[in-house]
Symmetry: C2
DNA sequence: GTCTATAGAAGGATAGAC
DNA sequence: GTCTATCCTTCTATAGAC
């Protein structure tokens, strides 16, 4: 089918190794060994290690931008629900890339990622249902980042449906309170 | 007062830089420049880069173990509350170390950290109130890791009381449901 | 497209003067 | 205790043959 099997192999192995040891913790040599080729081959397909990272994360970033655009047309409660569903779906489909977006923002300076901080803030606001309560804001941040970390670490999809569980948890935290304190 | 001002400076600057760029992403040269000394001085005070990391994280790990021990004497609901309060307190007091414990487990092999995975699992179980429901388990993981990430990123302690907010959020997710579905 | 060989920089760590 | 100088390794990236 695809003739770029080497290119695909590189992307696949790089994703695996980056997710395990981090971007800085993975060398081109490591990737080359995993793929079964030389470092020079890696750099034939991708102009640099940074470029490899960018290629790896690009589709995830694009989908994140698409979600952001979609959310802009919604408001309040419906935006919150769409944000949760959309984000959980995205994170589950791009498990390995998620870690990278996290540590790559600090690890490298890839211009393509510009504007992602603002996007991230809009996502937090959507999770919070645009509530003015600071606690709702913190709740949104906890859930957002917690979902990322859990998906990263939860390698094995055993019995339970992770998507449902994550969505349920998010609803627990984010759904507007019906005043009932202890 | 303390005569080890250089040693303290090194620990302080290393904590700052490690938290910003990660362990692998920070070189001894970076730390030396920040402290205003040479690499050799760094390695006079700490036998290796790994040893510096260990010294930095050690107190946090010890307190984590202490919390774990304390929790072992409690059960169910009281254990859950104690776990949340204790953990939030710990994470807030060791903000910078938290990131390190996360990425150092993958970055380096420091024997002193042995057994921390099991400890971490016990903490998750305590957060979940030892509920057998898998969703409660996921909820505990989301909150636990979410709290860590939020504290790391939430550098500035502006108006709101982060401790109260985090505790409140944790209670929202973890407190046993009174059956009320949408 | 893939390789070997190698350049050139940066990393951690040591030796020895002060 | 702190420094400069140096060693050795590893890293990213390039050159050029096949």
């Amino acid at each position: 089918m695809t003739r770029n099997h080497t290119r695909e192999d590189i992307l696949s192995e790089a994703a695996r190794l980056f997710a395990r040891a981090g971007y800085k913790g993975t060398s081109l040599h490591d990737i080359a060994v995993a793929v079964g080729c030389s470092k020079a081959t890696l750099l034939y397909h991708f102009s640099s290690k940074d470029a490899l990272l960018a290629a790896l994360v690009e589709p995830a970033i694009q989908e994140l931008r698409a979600l952001d655009t979609r959310l802009a047309t919604l408001d309040g409660e419906s935006a919150r629900a769409a944000a949760v569903d959309g984000f959980v779906d995205l994170v589950l489909r791009y498990r390995r890339q998620v870690t990278l977006v996290y540590d790559s923002l600090q690890a490298t300076e890839i211009p393509r990622f510009a504007g992602i901080d603002a996007l991230s803030e809009r996502l937090v606001r959507a999770f919070a249902g645009h509530s003015p309560d600071p606690v709702d804001d913190i709740a949104a941040r906890v859930v957002l980042s917690g979902i990322c970390t859990v998906v990263i670490e939860h390698a094995d999809p055993d019995g339970i449906d992770l998507r449902d569980a994550l969505t349920t948890v998010a609803e627990r935290v984010l759904r507007p309170r019906t005043r009932q304190e202890s």
